[in-house]
């Protein structure tokens, strides 16, 4: 298959990556080469084969519902790029 520059630009928006026109052109070429390589995944017969999400399958791990120590607010905010005393600050979400 062949991904167009527009399709790759759409993936970049979904992935929240700003790409320059030059990066977009390079990635389109590289992604096409990799996606072509991945086409061989269609070769083996997988009818009736269950998908395997984890190599070691562990099921339904429960724990007691007890309150543990929480990260103190100051520690949680310590790495914030922009903050005030009680929260993270971001550009306006709603107009």
């Amino acid at each position: 298959m062949s991904l167009t520059i527009d399709e790759v630009a759409k993936v970049a928006l979904l992935a929240r990556l700003r790409l320059s026109p030059e990066e977009l052109a390079t990635f389109t070429g590289q992604l096409n080469a990799i996606v072509d390589f991945m086409a061989q995944l269609q070769e083996p017969d997988t009818s009736g084969v269950e998908p395997l999400a984890h190599g070691v399958e562990v099921r339904n791990v429960f724990r007691d519902d007890v309150l543990g120590p929480a990260l103190p607010r100051e520690k949680a905010l310590a790495n914030a790029p922009k903050r005030n005393d009680e929260g993270f600050l971001v550009p306006a979400v709603l107009e």
Binding site: L3, V8, A9, V11, A12, L13, L14, A15, R16, L17, R18, L19, S20, P21, E23, F27, Q30, L31, A33, I34, V35, F37, M38, Q40, L41, Q42, E43, P44, T46, V49, E50, P51, L52, A53, H54, G55, V56, V58, V61, R63, L71, K75, A76, A78, N79, A80, P81, K82, F88, V90, P91, A92, V93, E95
Partner: protein
């Protein structure tokens, strides 16, 4: 103290022949002298000496010492150490200081180990050469014009160059075993679930595992025991008893049935590597092993299946780096390229922050994973890759009915030149061809030094075993180590 092992140093520290501070000073001096290798980043000598001093005081006071008392351990920079820079080799996390310790770090501290700086790595563990690091590449101690492998290249080079006797790496598709092979040290990827991933900054959560680097198997066994065990903070860690790997290391396995994977000896395997592996097979035969050829018919789909599964998981895991809660935020996110004018400022902030924070390979993998999971393609790529993953696991299950371990090369070529593969991502991916299937299947794997090329580059032998058979892996490898001296070789560094 050069060419020391952790086991040897422990004996000397316990006997009072050296102090932990003397050990720390030796490695600090060496790390400074060999700074050009760029193996360690964020090494804080004062913090190292303070930890060593605490161990000496504990010993003086007659208090019991932990199993790694006074032993420097270099930490791959993907593992959270509370309050210490933890960057994943990325501009994105340049100023990040985690609010808590990874479980493996807490275990090292409880074992009285000395945390010896952070080791360089491919950004977010994505790469096979440690060239994708915001700190620049690490150099292979055996040939400084060559890559050390990756993504745990700093951890492998640190042990190979005796900057620390032990180190921690992580392995998602070969990132412990491949650099161990290329740097002539031992590297072990445990079974998925053997070691807690809590505090390991996620790349591909169903594949990532933390594991040890060391000069020999005794040291590997020692460190693996400290790291292993279930952790309530990681629901995928498994509650299987942790054997005393050191205690049984020297007891040869009851049965020694070695399988050679036909598909691991095909096109693209360097003849010198093949010769070294065939020689290793002769060592096993001389030790009484039964050697037979086995087949993993779906292994050729390992790389494509891996690059769908791993990138899909990475696109999801790395969504958290959006300039909001931690990590880099772009100062200027005004519209720059066509089409951005219509986007809300928050979206532009995220896009610009990620564009500035991530390097090219990380962006490429996020894009690939986003594509593989996107509407209309998920069945064709992601779900199909998970089915192929089951076929790969079934191949291993069938092989392990016939043999105890699988033996082969760790990687198809010795260490390549810096820059040789950076412009061709696909050829870089192929260097993980023999290691990647173990991650998909969840089984443990080990690389041990088994030779040197004519030009003096290390060759690694990979052994694979069924899930939770790390003990078999170590004991089987020990049969080879006892008969050879490759693990004692060191690069001629000045």
């Amino acid at each position: 103290m050069t060419a020391a092992t952790a086991t040897g140093l422990l004996a000397q520290i316990h006997a009072g022949a050296v102090t932990a501070v003397e050990v720390a000073r030796f490695y600090l001096d060496r790390a400074e002298k060999l700074g050009r290798l760029n193996a360690l980043v964020n090494l804080d000598p004062e913090a190292v000496l303070a930890q060593a001093k605490a161990v000496d005081e504990k010993r003086k006071a007659g208090q019991p010492l932990g199993p790694l008392a006074g032993i420097p351990v270099a930490i791959k920079d993907v593992l959270c150490v509370e309050g210490e820079p933890t960057t994943c080799g990325s501009r994105m996390l340049k100023n990040f200081r985690p609010p808590y310790d990874a479980t493996v770090i807490a275990k090292l501290k409880a074992a009285d180990a000395v945390l010896f700086g952070k080791a360089n790595m491919d950004e977010f563990a994505m790469g096979s050469s440690t060239e994708n690091s915001a700190y620049g590449p690490t150099r292979n101690p055996w040939d400084e014009d060559r890559i050390p492998g990756g993504s745990s290249g700093g951890s492998a080079a640190a042990v190979a160059a005796d900057l620390a006797p032990l180190s921690l790496g992580t392995d998602t598709g070969g990132s412990i075993r491949q650099p161990a092979g290329l740097c002539g040290v031992v590297g072990l990827k445990p079974t998925y679930g053997r070691v807690s991933r809590y505090g390991l900054i996620a790349f591909a959560s169903s594949l990532d595992q933390v594991g040890p680097f060391a000069h020999d198997l005794a040291d590997t066994a020692l460190l693996l025991k400290v790291l292993s065990g279930r952790d309530p903070h990681d629901s995928t860690s498994v509650d299987t008893p942790v054997p005393d790997y050191s205690a049984t290391l020297d007891t040869p396995p009851k049965t020694l049935r070695v399988g050679l994977v036909r598909e691991f000896f095909g096109d693209g395997l360097d003849p010198e590597i093949e010769a070294a592996i065939r020689e290793a097979v002769r060592v096993y035969e001389a030790a009484g092993a039964t050697v037979k050829e086995v087949s993993l018919p779906h292994s050729k789909y390992g790389i494509p299946a891996y690059y769908v599964v791993a990138t899909a998981e990475c696109s999801s895991n790395l969504a958290r780096y959006d300039g909001t809660i931690y990590g880099h935020r772009a100062e200027d996110f005004s519209p720059k390229y066509p089409g951005e004018e219509g986007l809300p400022p928050l979206v532009r902030m995220m896009m610009a922050s990620r564009a500035e924070g991530f390097g090219a390979e990380v962006k490429r993998r996020i894009m690939l994973g986003t594509f593989a999971l996107s509407a209309g393609y998920a069945d064709q790529y992601y779900n199909q890759a998970l089915k192929v993953r089951r076929l790969i696991r079934n191949d291993f299950d069938a092989a392990f009915k016939e043999v105890d371990v699988l033996l082969g090369p760790t990687s198809p070529t010795p260490a390549f030149k810096l820059g040789e593969k950076t412009s061709d991502p696909l050829s870089m991916y192929l260097s993980d061809i023999y290691t990647i299937t173990a991650n998909l299947a969840g089984i443990p794997g080990l690389s041990v030094p088994c030779g040197l090329t004519k030009s003096g580059l290390p060759i690694g032998m990979q052994l694979l075993a069924p899930a939770f058979a790390e003990e078999t892996l170590l004991r089987t490898a020990r049969v080879f180590e006892r008969a050879t001296d490759w693990h004692t070789r060191r690069p001629a560094l000045v």
